[in-house]
Every structure is written in C-alpha cells, then in structure tokens.
C-alpha cells in the first residue's frame, strides 16, 4: 500500500532522515519506533508532504512524492498527527465534518459520523462541545475518527500514546487493535515500544535518521528489550 524508497527528509538545511526504505502492505499495521529526535515524525511529514524530502513515495502504486499536501490527503492518506491537533475552536461534530472533505453528500457524511459516534459514545456525548475542552484521550479518539472519516487507504498515527495516562493508552491501543481487525492499513509511529509491538505486524526501528533494525514483530518479543534500548526504561 505504501512504499518508500531512498527517502531523505530536510528541515531547512538540516537533514533529519537519511536514505530510508519502508513498506506497509495492505491490512498491515507497521510501527516505526525510535527515541526522541530519531526522525519518526519527520518521516511522516515527508509522507504527508509537509516537510521537504527527496526520494520515492508510492501510495497504492502511485507516485505521490511530487504532490501537494491537499492532493496527497485526497489520494487516500489520513493522519492523526503528533499532539492530536484537533481544531480546538470547533465543536467535536465540526471536527468530524472536517474529516469529511471528500464527501459529496451531506447525508452520507452525517451517516458516517453517526457510525463513529456508535464506536465512540464519549464523542457523541460531547458532540457540541469545543474540542479544546476534551481530555487527552478523548482528543485522541477524535483525531483518529476525523482521520478515518475519509476512508483512507492508510492511516498514519503519530505517537497516539504521548501525554496520556497508562489506562487511556491501553484503551487507545485496544481501539487500534480493533481497527486493524477491521482491515485498516496503519503506519504507527511510537516511542512506547511495548504498546506498539502488541498491535503491529512489522517493526522498523529508527535512530538518528537511519533505520538500524527491522523485522517481523515476533522477533522482538514483548518489546521490553527494545523499549530499554530506546529509552532506558525497563518495562
């Protein structure tokens, strides 16, 4: 579904990512792991088009590397970005409407929003509340729903566990597991190796802008060694 070759990502004159290759097959959940500053978010930015990059990016076989941000999103790319970035001045429902940029029929959009309310009853409760007043976990649910509203070919998830309490993190990962069971293709970026390993099929480990190890998830056990190596924390 998503194929990346020889990707280099730049922030101004600084190169954040050096010549990486990655593949995410349809229906897979692939995780990009790495410590702070490894270049994980830069990689996602290159995929969405918000950072300057060279190299090949293919979505469903089509080369998107030269396309603008809006065009790439319209091609089937959706992201729940780092920090959630829900529109704090809009209501929950309006945030979801923002996910429906590609819908032609208002009725279709409302129906889809209904589906997400069924999946996340909390969002329904708060549908007219300003998104900025939601808790971190609720914002994460909102960001994911907003992203999935467009029926994307691949969902990019940037650090969903960031800043959330452990119970909420496990809830969010349950949601990710469900999504995967429903067949959603996911590229997950995380620092929390243990949680990520529990949902993914394949893992790439990024450090200093270079992939230094990758493989099937079962190679990495529970992810505790990885977690320790990456962050120095024993889980």
């Amino acid at each position: 579904m998503l194929e990346i070759n020889s990707l280099n990502v730049f922030h101004g004159p600084i190169q954040a990512v050096h010549d990486i290759d990655m593949i995410v097959s349809e229906g897979q959940c692939v995780t990009l792991l790495g410590p702070n500053g490894a270049g994980k978010t830069s990689t996602l930015s290159a995929i969405t088009g918000t950072a300057r990059a060279t190299g090949s990016i293919r979505l469903g076989g089509d080369q998107i590397a030269h396309m603008s941000v809006d065009d790439r999103s319209r091609r089937g790319l959706a992201i729940s970005p780092e920090g959630r970035r829900v529109f704090a001045n809009l209501s929950v429902r309006e945030n979801l409407i923002m996910g429906g940029a590609l819908y032609n029929s208002k009725a279709q959009l409302s129906a889809k929003i209904e589906q997400w309310f069924v999946q996340f009853p909390t969002l329904r409760e708060r549908s007219d509340q300003l998104a900025g007043t939601l808790s971190g976990g609720e914002q994460q649910m909102l960001a994911i729903s907003r992203a999935l509203l467009s029926n994307p070919r691949i969902l990019l998830l940037d650090e969903p566990s960031l800043g959330l309490a452990p119970q909420i993190v496990s809830k969010i990962f349950d949601i990710i597991r469900d999504l995967k069971a429903q067949g959603t293709t996911i590229l997950l970026v995380e620092q929390n190796a243990v949680a990520a390993v529990s949902v993914s099929d394949y893992v790439y480990v990024l450090n200093n802008g270079v992939i230094y190890i990758h493989g099937q998830t079962d190679q990495f056990g529970h992810g505790s060694e990885l977690m320790n190596e990456l962050t120095g924390v024993y889980v």
Partner: protein
C-alpha cells in the same frame, strides 16, 4: 430624545460601514496572516465599476449594484491569485509590504487609466433620503446600512458555522496545515476567504458611493485605514473583534464630534486615533484577540 436617537443611528451606521470593511480584512488575516492593505482599492474599484457599467451597459442602479458586488469579488480573488500567492507562507512584514505595493499599483492604475480628478458616479444617491419617523428625521441610507450590515453578519455567521468551507475557514484560522492534511484544497479555502472579503467590500462600496457620488483614485485609502484600526483594537484576526472594533470606532467618532467644540472638528480624527493608541496600551493585542494555541501540542 430625538437627538439621542439620531446620534445613535449615526454611530450605528458609521460603525456598520467600518465593521463591513474591517470584517473583510479580518477574514483574510485570520487565515493567511496577511494584512491586506489593498482592500481599500477593492472598494475603490467597485466605485469605478459603476462608471464602467453605466457607460457600457445601463444606468439601472440595481444592475449597477450587482456589477459592483461582482467587480469587488472578482478583484479580490484575482489579486490573491496574481499578487498574494507568491508570498503565501511569508512573514508578516513581507505580506504587509506586498499588499501595500499592490495598493499603490492599483491606485496609480486608476490614475493612469481613469483620471486624476473625481469622476461622477451618482447612481446610488437615491438611497440617501431624509425620512421622518414620528418626530425624528433620519437618513434612509443609515437605516439601510445598519440593516444590511446586520444581515451580512448573520449570513456570514451561518456560512461559517453550517457549510464545510466555512468550517474549514474557521479551522484554518487556527491550524491551516491541518486543514490541508484533512484534504481541503488550500487554494479553495483562501480564494473563498478573499471572495467573502470582496463581497463585504462590495456591500460597503454601495453605501460609500451613495454618500460620495464620485470616484477618485485614492478613495480607498481612508476606509481601509479606519478598518485597520478597527481590526487592531478588536484584536487582529478575530471576526467578532472586527465587528466590535468597527462599531466602537463609530461610537468614538460620533462622540468626538459631539463633545469637541465646533472649531476643533478637524481634530476628531486625531482624537479617535489617540483613543486607539490608549486602547493598545491597555490591550496590546486588541480587545478580543484570537486564540493562538494549536491544541495539545507537546
């Protein structure tokens, strides 16, 4: 009592006009961070379009009115496409100076292609009649102006709340990049914002022309200056702020005209500006400055 009503109507209609133009500025700034100095020229071009339509087409004021609206929207959208797209991501100073250059270009185009002297355009003067309601004598124009502005504000609010493009514009004011990541076309959102600013300018133009009766190259300058000030005291980029600022300025101006002795009438504008400076000292970012946080960014 009658005097009070007349002066209130004065303040409302002045404020309405300022609010209309200020809203046009605010909507563009809120999304693009661009201080559109050329907005006054959009209004001026609306005036010139009256002359063009009347010469080429018809003297029917209603058709000319539609012509004005169309001309203003067209100008605004074309300006964005031609002049402002290149400086889209740039910092405040670059955008401001570009807009300011565009404004000078347009003023001089009016001068070159039109005339340095005022050209008569009296088709809307019929709107300005003195009518008597009970014991009060008011200008019909002031009533139209106030009503039209209120309607425009309501329609704009509905647009921003109910339509996807409107919601996208409100979102873009906070996080433009995320709006694009959701799949909304940046060009459409920005063109939409300029189109709206053009509509508002067109409406304001009709009322301005009903009062002036003539067009000249630099007629856009005063309105846009006042609109700026309105935006700044209301909080630059905030739409309610622009409306609030516009009406506050209307009230301030009428108040100054009332309390200053006849001889010092020329100082009304200086007095209003001094008030503005005081407001800015108290609230450097304006009274209703818009939120700047982008949510839960760690």
């Amino acid at each position: 009592m009658d005097y009070a009503i007349q002066q209130t109507l004065n303040a409302l209609s002045f404020g309405a006009e300022y609010a209309l133009i200020a809203l046009g500025l605010a909507i563009v700034f809120s999304i693009m961070g661009l201080v559109n100095f050329a907005h006054g020229e959009v209004v001026a071009f609306g005036g010139y379009s009256m002359v063009i339509t009347a010469t080429l087409l018809t003297s029917n004021p209603w058709i000319i009115m539609i012509g004005v609206m169309f001309a203003c929207v067209l100008t605004a959208v074309v300006l964005e496409r031609v002049a402002f797209r290149t400086v889209r991501g740039a910092d405040l100073t670059t955008g401001l100076l570009t807009a300011f250059g565009v404004s000078i270009v347009l003023q001089n185009l009016f001068l070159l292609l039109g005339s340095p002297r005022a050209i008569a355009a009296t088709q809307f003067i019929f709107l300005d009649k003195t009518i008597t309601i009970g014991t009060i004598r008011v200008s019909s124009l002031q009533i139209y102006e106030t009503l039209a502005t209120l309607v425009a504000i309501v329609v704009l609010t509905l647009f921003l709340r109910k339509t996807p493009l409107g919601i996208a514009m409100r979102a873009a004011a906070l996080d433009f990049e995320m709006v694009r990541l959701c799949g909304f076309r940046a060009n459409r959102v920005i063109a939409g914002a300029f189109a709206i600013s053009g509509l508002l300018a067109g409406l304001a133009c009709i009322f301005i022309m009903a009062r002036r009766g003539s067009v000249q190259p630099n007629m856009g300058f005063d309105p846009v200056l006042v609109a700026f000030v309105a935006c700044v005291i209301g909080g630059f980029g905030s739409l309610p702020g622009a409306v609030l600022g516009g009406f506050l300025l209307g009230v301030a101006e009428v108040t100054m005209l009332i309390i200053l002795p006849q001889s010092a009438g020329g100082l009304a504008s200086a007095a209003v500006f001094s008030l503005v400076a005081l407001v800015l000292i108290w609230r450097p970012d304006g009274i209703l400055s818009p939120a700047r946080n982008k949510g839960d960014k760690i």
